[in-house]
């Protein structure tokens, strides 16, 4: 396992896409900061870092697994490793660490941007706890996105399809979920558990009053539901990965 993790980190570090991901995150955060009026809400939301990271992470996760098939390296990985679980888990672990590092970087950039744009207008003491909850919610949702991306690439075997579905989920998933629940109000108790609804965890933990009305889930419920989907996608993804012929 240790050797496999080292190997995956080595590849990830040398693959430029991981570095480009961080640069794109930085550019998009700066764009968000200067194109919108800065308020406590935008600072707590890390200048939109969560939204951008879901797109970046789904692209990187999908590419990180699909490149093994594209380069035929999956054959070497399979026969050199004792079993397939070691490979899948190592990739998952690397992507989770990357998400954590990206989030830490986004918080650091938020600190700088806030000081540059509004200076001492808002006090950190009023923002830090909400900012931390936003980061926590985003981290949980990024794990949801990583397991989903690995599942989708194992099913569709096509990077473009996975990235397309990821973009659909990020931009339209929440609206779709709300639309479904509005159209079938009698079934909200069931529909509120749908996977598109999980994206609200990113903001709900920081702004529970506003978002509980939209997601129809309490903070605890949305955390448990996200963890349930992470485990489900993880198990399904591994099962598909294991079955896939090489």
């Amino acid at each position: 396992m240790k050797f496999s993790l080292q190997q995956e980190f080595y590849k990830f570090n040398h693959q430029k896409i991981s570095f480009y991901g961080l640069i794109i995150l930085l550019i998009l955060m700066i764009y968000s900061a200067f194109s919108n009026k800065t308020s406590t809400d935008t600072i707590i939301q890390n200048f939109g870092a969560g939204q951008w990271l879901t797109i970046i992470v789904i692209t990187i996760s999908s590419t990180f697994l699909s490149m093994e098939y594209t380069n035929n390296t999956i054959l070497t990985l399979f026969y050199k490793r004792p079993n397939k679980f070691v490979i899948y888990f190592s990739k998952l672990f690397v992507l989770v660490i990357y998400s954590a590092i990206s989030l830490v970087l986004s918080v650091f950039v938020t600190f700088i941007l806030k000081e540059l744009i509004v200076g001492g207008q808002y006090h950190w003491s009023d923002l830090v706890s909400a900012l931390f909850l936003n980061v926590l919610g985003t981290f949980i949702y990024l794990m949801f996105i990583i397991t989903l991306a690995l599942l989708l690439i194992s099913v569709f075997k096509n990077n473009a399809v996975v990235v397309g579905l990821g973009l659909f989920n990020s931009f339209l998933g929440a609206s779709l979920s709300s639309a479904i629940m509005s159209d079938f109000p009698g079934s909200i108790s069931l529909l509120k558990w749908n996977p598109f609804n999980m994206i609200y965890i990113m903001n709900q933990l920081s702004f529970p009053k506003d978002f509980i009305k939209i997601s129809y889930l309490s903070n605890l419920q949305i955390i448990i539901a996200n963890i349930f989907y992470i485990v489900l996608f993880g198990l399904l993804g591994y099962s598909m990965f294991k079955k896939r012929r090489v």
């Binding site: 040398h14 380069n71 035929n72 390296t73 054959l75 070497t76 026969y79 050199k80 004792p82 079993n83």
Partner: protein, 294 residues
């Protein structure tokens, strides 16, 4: 070293590999030959535990299954295309799997890759990639190496180099299972031949025994070929015809001479049929096809 015992592979309902068994002993170079789609790569993948199969595969007396590859710790392979990360240099690709840096340096030197090993693999030519793939298979002093079409994309100089290297490793005790469409190259190195067709094992012989099949046929020319053909057919001693010659089995040549003498037919030529290795392989494949039709 490697034992393949009665393996069967199915892809959906299609029976791809049918009851195939053979062994690869230490230091042996086994050439696996067959037409496209015969099942050569499938057998190689099965030995590497990459496919679901029935039967038994063991390497150094340890079983290989689809879920357990621990027996493959000292096995190297090049299957289909070289497994290379284009964003890494050749050296970094090797470093990913190396357990012994000295072994890595040796392989790089043996394959004469020093000039470009520190460049990114995405800029490599087909031949350079192929050599890197072979180098990866030879890393960490393996006991057993599988090479699927190793000469693909190699120039003459590299082909000779790889051939010599395979022989060198085999002399040190490494076993090889090699497939190649370039039979002349395989012929120069292999010590055992395994012929596969439509998932069936047709021939599994020591290379010298296989070449001796060549001498079991004699070509015959008489002063009355028509009458000779009739006589031999009647006695069931005619195998086939080739141009102006009648082809007969070595074991019947004395009986045939007596038969011709009794019928006052004079012998003009009776000599071992000389056929090359490729023809021998094709003949083996055709013979099996004819038997199946019967």
């Amino acid at each position: 070293m490697v034992k393949v015992n009665n393996i069967n592979v199915f892809m959906g309902k299609k029976h791809i590999i049918k009851n195939v068994s053979f062994q690869v002993k230490p230091g042996e170079i086994v050439g696996i030959i067959g037409p496209n789609g015969a099942g050569k790569t499938t057998i190689m993948k099965t030995i590497l535990g990459l496919l679901k199969f029935t039967g038994k595969v063991s390497v150094a007396d340890r079983n290989v299954t689809e879920d357990n590859h621990r027996a493959l710790s000292k096995v190297g392979a090049l299957i289909e295309n070289p497994a290379i990360y284009p964003f890494l240099t050749g050296l970094q690709n090797l470093e990913l799997y190396t357990e012994d840096k000295n072994s890595m340096k040796t392989v790089v030197k043996q394959l004469k890759m020093q000039n470009y090993i520190k460049s990114r693999a995405k800029n490599y030519s087909l031949g350079m990639k192929q050599k890197l793939g072979i180098a990866m298979a030879l890393l960490n002093n393996p006991n057993f190496v599988i090479l699927d079409e190793p000469m693909n994309g190699l120039d003459i100089e590299s082909t000779i180099l790889v051939r010599k290297l395979i022989k060198h490793y085999a002399e040190q005790g490494t076993s090889f299972l090699i497939s190649s469409h370039i039979l002349s190259e395989l012929q120069k190195i292999m010590t055992r031949i395994v012929i596969i067709n439509e998932g069936n094992l047709i021939i599994n012989k020591n290379i010298d025994d296989f070449k001796n099949i060549n001498h079991s046929r004699y070509k015959l020319l008489t002063n009355n070929q028509k009458e000779s053909q009739k006589l031999l057919q009647e006695k069931g001693m005619l195998e086939s015809q080739s141009n102006k010659y009648l082809l007969v089995n070595e074991k019947n040549i004395f009986s045939i001479q007596n038969l011709l003498y009794k019928n006052k037919i004079q012998l003009l030529e009776l000599a071992p049929q000389q056929i090359d290795f490729e023809q021998l392989v094709v003949r083996s494949l055709n013979k099996k096809a004819e038997e199946d039709e019967i």
